[in-house]
Assembly symmetry: C2
Homo-oligomer: 232 residues x 2
Amino acid sequence: MKKEMHPHNTCTLGMAVASCFEKLSDEEMRLLEENLVVVNYKKGEILCKQGTLASHIMYLCCGLVKIYMENDAGSLILKVLPAGNIIGLTALMDGANVFRYSAYAYQDCKVRLIDIRTFKHLIIKNSAFANEVINLLCENLIQTQIRFFAFTQKQSYGRLADTLICLACNIFKKDEFEFQLTRKELAELTGMTTESVIRLLSKFKNDGLIEMEGKILRIKNKEKLQQISDFG
Amino acid sequence: MKKEMHPHNTCTLGMAVASCFEKLSDEEMRLLEENLVVVNYKKGEILCKQGTLASHIMYLCCGLVKIYMENDAGSLILKVLPAGNIIGLTALMDGANVFRYSAYAYQDCKVRLIDIRTFKHLIIKNSAFANEVINLLCENLIQTQIRFFAFTQKQSYGRLADTLICLACNIFKKDEFEFQLTRKELAELTGMTTESVIRLLSKFKNDGLIEMEGKILRIKNKEKLQQISDFG
DNA sequence: CAAAAATTATGATATAAATCATATTTTTTC
DNA sequence: GAAAAAATATGATTTATATCATAATTTTTG
């Protein structure tokens, strides 16, 4: 029933690829270019750290990044972002330009660091741009709410199945992919312990739902996995 | 440590009171007034239903509302909103003007139903207004992420303590308040079962942290409760 | 390339919280 | 204002998942 209403939103790990820059005029684009720096991050490096002052909005040109919140007790991966996404939009909020989460490079990344004042200036000057930013924030909010809801409703099997499908469909865009994530990270993505992830993955493997060869993960039975995601 | 950084964000049930309308000119305000209807909802009525087409953005003039997501398996209260809040901002997203959640009146409510096209028009025409909408969305997103994170980190005692403090501080704004929520609703707010809520509330009562007389709930030891919220 | 460190794996045990069952109290309804 | 329904309460039992322990791989590092 839920699926009939929002079939596109079954995956809770979504990505809102940024289309806002298309709305800028040539002149505005020039202004943007003048107020950004391109930085390359190596695999394993931190793009931004939760709690630090955000002087930039980040645009991910290429690479793969995880966005996560952390404290002494543990951490939660909020999302995994492929190229084309913006990182740190919430720092736009007036009077609180602080990163609310950290970002970590799974792969080598090329990032455009856009000066936040310039970004804000463009929001004020170009209403179509502002509108696209609103779209992005809405999509982000919806996605987070759906994921939050799913976490409270599904138990571990469902959450893991859901996450595997999302990774395949939304992030790597094929059913077989080199799996960059450790079991520990999959745990942070699904809200359980590393041991539990390992156990459930073995179960999925034994049941013929997935195959694992070294770092390669292959989804063998997406329908069954989807069923587990829906009803688990 | 976390607390030192964001002491204002300890409560995961926050409210972003809408300040966007202050940014409108007299003429824009007139346009707004012409394109809204004021509707009174009685306690217990539904203001909007998840999945339905959103032709309006709602502004809550007075009353108290819960925002929740639901499916066959259960429901999750995303937030509780007092007067001054906007409901349904995510429907602003182009090409998907559907309510992603339902809203229910805890008390009699007065609501301004603002035509969504007019609202979008104002975003395009008035950049200060657009900027405030962005602020609201950012605050919503941050709040949702923090709450989501808290849910994955804290266990039931912590989540319940947190929710009680939030209700007192953010929603009713005093330590003693007439408790509109049933135990079932408190369960939907904290992500546990009704029985568990009842058990934990009794525990809190026995430990002298709260008092309950009929529908009145009184917080007796906020420091201890905060401690449970932080480390539970 | 050997040593150290990290990751993956599996089993045994503990535990938080759900589920089930039943009773009491409060609220709603006719 | 009596009957029905809903909400609150408490106990017994089950279960999903965490925790703890230990071993086998794989990866990293000097």
